[in-house]
């Protein structure tokens, strides 16, 4: 398989990879935010 052809996606590379990149950023960002908020709430609840 030719990787540069694969990344070109038949000329639609920008749209296809852009879509998956945004999905990664949004979902990855959500996971990071949930973990951070969880840590903060555990710390403050243990202080009470």
């Amino acid at each position: 398989m030719n990787w540069s052809e694969f990344f070109r996606m038949g000329g639609y590379g920008f749209y296809v990879w852009g879509s998956y990149l945004i999905a990664l950023v949004l979902m990855g960002g959500e996971v990071v935010m949930v973990i951070k908020r969880g840590k903060a709430s555990r710390q403050s609840s243990d202080r009470d």
Binding site: Y12, Y15, V16, S19, A23, R37, G38, D46, D48
Partner: protein, 237 residues
Amino acid sequence: MNLYKYASPSAFYPLAGKLIPWFAIPAAILFAAGLYIGFFVAPTDFQQGDAYRIMFIHVPAAWMGMFLYVLLAFYAGIGWAFNARLASMMASSLAVTGAMFTFLSLVTGSLWGKPTWGTWWVWDARMTSTLILLFLYAGFISLQAAIDEPRRADRAGAVLAIVGVINVPIIYFSVQWWNTLHQGATIRILGKPSIAPPMLAALLIMLGACWLYSIAVVLARLRTIILERERIAHSQS
């Protein structure tokens, strides 16, 4: 075992913590499998070329945005009608993930629309009703944030959520009711799907992955909301 005891937020807190890995790990496996089939097994579409591969994230994101809204309205309604705090907290947790998927469906739809329709956006029925869905999520989140007393915030959110649920069938049937640019359903409840088997497999696996992801993230956020509202000590539970 008394299942009703888990309706109490403090009892549900440790249970949710144990459940999360059982959804998060299969979600990661299904995302890997779905992307592999979607990019390496599914053939290039004869009409749309490789642009159609956006479908494997766009369609599950759009479905999740609608499913999670119905769930949100359901839990908000239960929380309101039966004065169940945990159900209201579940609704608050669902709102963020639902909004994220709805936004993702709009952005990926735009990135798919540009090469196939020649435009990033048109005010057609499906896209407009999906944008309204995003506004409903945003309205729910900001309404809850604006009211200090949590149970009053839950009730106000529930009213908005239940009224807004009418928008979900409008989105779903918009491609049939109005003449729109958006293509019709790929998968029909009755009758054969309109795509090749590996495309369908990748789509369904990605949908499963998005479901498992949503359950894991919503449970994790729900735990945080329980801690923030109930003032129970994490170390004691």
